[in-house]
Symmetry: C2
Subunit: 203 residues, 2 copies
Amino acid sequence: MTATEEPKRRRGRPPSGGREAILAAALEILREQGIANLTSREVAARAGVSDASVYYHFGDRAGLIQAVFAHAMSPLELMAGLEDLDLEPAELIRRSFAALTEFFIKALPVIGAAQTDPELRASMAAYIDQNNLGPHKGVERLGGYLRAQQAAGRVRADLDPDAFALVVIDSAFAAAARRVMLGHKLELLPSSEAVLAEITRLL
Amino acid sequence: MTATEEPKRRRGRPPSGGREAILAAALEILREQGIANLTSREVAARAGVSDASVYYHFGDRAGLIQAVFAHAMSPLELMAGLEDLDLEPAELIRRSFAALTEFFIKALPVIGAAQTDPELRASMAAYIDQNNLGPHKGVERLGGYLRAQQAAGRVRADLDPDAFALVVIDSAFAAAARRVMLGHKLELLPSSEAVLAEITRLL
DNA sequence: GTCTATAGGTTGATAGAC
DNA sequence: GTCTATCAACCTATAGAC
């Protein structure tokens, strides 16, 4: 009996596959309770499977955590298709900023969790490198777009496209980090809109 | 006998007080190996004291970790006296950026470690709030300086001082986070000098 | 593929002598 | 204040039945 009478006790739809359920449960625990509480027991209980099932699917704890990394970062088509919309440069920057912030809010707890252990950090850095997820990719993309706009005369000619791109990315990163780490006690800070209004003056 | 024959087996000067030795050892372990490996046993071994001594001084593990937070963040006189030097605004921004980056590099492993557990995160957020260490303090300070410079006509009058201050702080934060989290694989990114050159155009 | 049961190890924390 | 000794709890991982 897998669990036909027990309603799997999670809020979302109960994924039929045990492996998926474990991954989803692990990601939830990681985000809500931190990696310190990401034990095989907790994961198994929340996923509605047994403890041993976790080890059957992922080998060991490190394997599970790595799988969670991949699972959390893969649905990442950042800024996809934005360039094709022929938007005002300032508007494209705003939308990119929003997409980046959303991505970082999801990814940060996972990235941060990897910092708790040297092995995990190395494994995570390797993963980011392998899958071309590092910040240079964003700089490349946004910077490339800005260079094209410069060629078209829609952006100030002596703007440093890569430096500007990095400023946008870093602002989104920091905004996400504040929300994740300090909770919601940020009313005293300038809004993202105000920050973007200031940044986009550089264009 | 505290430890006159045993040379305390750490590299720095051997602090006579056991409490200080424990704090120093804990901070080292936290930075080098992450909070997951911050056990009472490891700390005691590195500090050259016994396991129970840790509990005598700090009550429990959470107490030790909180003490480490305070110990790691207290020597923080950020941007102190910079305003008095009567520098060019752009130069003051550069120096503030450097000071902020240095601070974040030291503080980030500690702040990040607190994210691994909800209780620790709450306790850390409370500590930051209590000791007025949040980002709004930096915004207040840098923003206030910029307002004064605006009044003196040395900075563009329609600059949003707080938004600009936040951009500077966020760039420093992100630069520090990259160095801490991704190691030293950042040659492809624009330098901080290039970023600052771009940002300070807004002044 | 999923379960129960358990071995084996590590940790947080306490008791009590010195 | 510091130590040794120890406990109870928890965790990872495996073995073997279904």
